[in-house]
């Protein structure tokens, strides 16, 4: 008999919160929020991967076509037009590589259009230079006019324009995902605040008694926060576990767009990018943090009504 109280004492529920804040509603709602947050995270991670992939790839490559490469450049001292163009490209800031495609590469490129006959075609082929840029910010119009001055008819073709639009779309999707996350976090905080206020109202007598016995706000707020933190963490865990299949499925669908083409198709969970795994792991912790901070704030504000 005398042992029992001491065993329970460290978890003594002196405010009776197990019942006042104990129903399954709070964890359930937080789980739903965490589920939505996980989906938003997956969307954001997917969009981020696409943006990254596109920007590393196509956005920073240019094709320069020189129509009659072997004629002398406008400035004859610069050699042939091709040589002049290559030299100017190499000297331009932001250009990391510029390489003229060989005859074979060119014919291979044209084969789908010209058929096998392309190999023997008498058509004069333009020179095609593949250019790689450090960033996608180069001023293409300026480059084009400087090149055309050396070799009239030279065309600079950027792959960046449509990639830019796609990247913009992906970034907007990402922003929406973050907005959704923020809204979900705010709703979760509101849910915890409502539950805490209901608990405060239900246990008002007990709180006043404990307050009268000399309990500081810290003591009472800690009781509430311990409870909501635990319930919110539980909800966050359940929510992100529930979202795992959906998120992994999405990641698997996205793999062909972001992985090297030669990579073998990934297994189910391995498809999850590292940052997404991190995000899903962080969700319960984040839910717990929301539970803690919200309950602390709500209780401390409420307690100001007591002297």
């Amino acid at each position: 008999m005398s042992k029992a109280p001491s065993l329970r004492s460290s978890r003594l529920d002196d405010l009776g919160l197990r019942r006042a804040l104990g129903d399954g509603m709070l964890p359930l709602l937080v789980a739903a929020m965490a589920f939505l947050a996980a989906l938003a995270l997956a969307g954001s991670a997917g969009a981020a991967a696409l943006v990254r992939h596109w920007q590393q790839g196509a956005a920073t490559t240019l094709t320069v076509q020189v129509p009659t490469p072997l004629l002398a450049a406008t400035n004859a001292a610069a050699g042939t037009r091709l040589e002049a163009v290559l030299a100017l490209l190499h000297a331009s800031p932001g250009v990391t590589a510029a390489r003229a495609l060989s005859e074979q590469e060119l014919r291979a490129l044209l084969r789908p259009w010209l058929g096998e006959g392309a190999a023997a075609s008498p058509l004069p082929l333009p020179a095609v230079i593949a250019v790689r840029l450090a960033t996608d910010a180069a001023d293409l119009a300026d480059l084009q006019s400087r090149l055309a001055a050396l070799a009239p008819g030279t065309l600079v073709e950027s792959h960046g324009a449509w990639v830019h639009r796609l990247a913009l779309l992906a970034r907007s999707l990402q922003a929406c995902a973050w907005l959704a996350l923020a809204v979900v976090a705010a709703v979760a905080a509101a849910v915890v605040a409502v539950a805490t206020r209901a608990g405060l109202a239900a246990r008002r007598d007990a709180i006043e008694i404990v307050h009268g016995l000399g309990a500081a706000d810290t003591y009472i707020a800690a009781r509430f926060a311990a409870r909501t933190t635990r319930l919110a963490a539980l909800g966050g865990l359940v929510g992100s576990l529930a979202a795992l299949p959906a998120v992994a499925g999405l990641a698997m669908l996205a793999t062909p767009f972001v992985a090297a083409p030669a990579a073998p198709p990934p297994t189910f969970l391995a498809a999850l990018p590292g940052e997404l795994v991190l995000g899903l792991t962080a969700l319960p912790l984040f839910a717990a943090a929301i539970g803690f901070v919200t309950a602390q704030t709500t209780v401390r504000l409420w307690l100001r009504r007591l002297p």
């Binding site: 008999m1 005398s2 029992a4 109280p5 001491s6 329970r8 004492s9 003594l12 529920d13 002196d14 009776g16 019942r19 007598d205 007990a206 006043e208 008694i209 404990v210 307050h211 009268g212 016995l213 000399g214 309990a215 500081a216 706000d217 003591y219 100001r304 002297p307």
Partner: protein
């Protein structure tokens, strides 16, 4: 120890204002004993609430333990409250806790080590005759047993100021006498004690200085 200067207390706000206390001025030295007398509704409970720091005066100056309560920051009040024991007229035990845990509450709030809590509470429950009921919840206790648990909770911290609101209301004469012995013993050990009561026989058996209230005013202090 206790000093009041023109202290007033009103409940409510706007149209429904009740003036429970008005212009109270008196003092009680450290180690003093006072009866608090007056008809029902005179303001005895309200005065004890002020002294317990459960309400702040709406007028005048109140100092307890040499602290001017009107100017003491809110964060400093819990430590003062822990030096005050209060037996409520309606007991105010926590319904979901056993008698043991109810009595242990002030010690645990004060952060005393669990070993000391166990020893003190066991001793206290034995003293009020509740040893065998220590696992019972308040609803399972008789009115008198609840009152004794409330008394045990008030004195277990050895408070410097002990306030009792109608503490013998549910006790038979023997129990009431036993309680008076406890209160007097606490008083002899240095605690300042105020006891509000309607029990004229008890006051007659234990004559002491009395504060007499009527309709919120102090009408006698002798």
């Amino acid at each position: 120890m206790i000093r009041l200067d023109g202290v007033g207390l009103t409940y409510g706000s706007g149209k429904t204002v009740t003036e429970a206390l008005r212009g109270l001025s008196f003092s009680v030295p450290e180690g003093g004993f006072r009866w608090l007398l007056g008809p029902s509704g005179a303001g005895k409970t309200s005065l004890l609430r002020l002294l317990q720091l459960a309400a702040r005066p709406t007028a005048g100056r109140l100092s307890v333990f040499e602290a001017d309560i009107g100017r003491t920051p809110r964060a400093a009040l819990p430590l003062l409250r822990r030096r005050i024991g209060m037996v409520f007229q309606d007991f105010r035990l926590l319904a979901h806790l056993s008698a043991f845990d109810n009595v242990a509450l002030p010690l645990r709030i004060a952060g005393r080590p669990e070993g000391q809590v166990r020893a003190d509470v066991t001793e206290m429950l034995r003293w009020v005759g509740l040893s065998r009921r220590s696992d019972a919840r308040p609803a399972e206790l008789s009115g008198g047993e609840q009152q004794r648990a409330a008394i045990a909770r008030a004195v277990v911290c050895r408070p410097g100021l002990l306030l009792a609101d109608e503490p013998t209301g549910n006790l038979d004469d023997t129990q009431a006498e036993r309680l008076m012995l406890l209160l007097k013993e606490m008083n002899r050990l240095g605690a300042t004690v105020l006891v509000a009561t309607h029990n004229a026989a008890l006051v007659a058996r234990h004559p002491a200085r009395a504060l007499r209230l009527d309709r919120g005013r102090l009408v006698a202090d002798e």
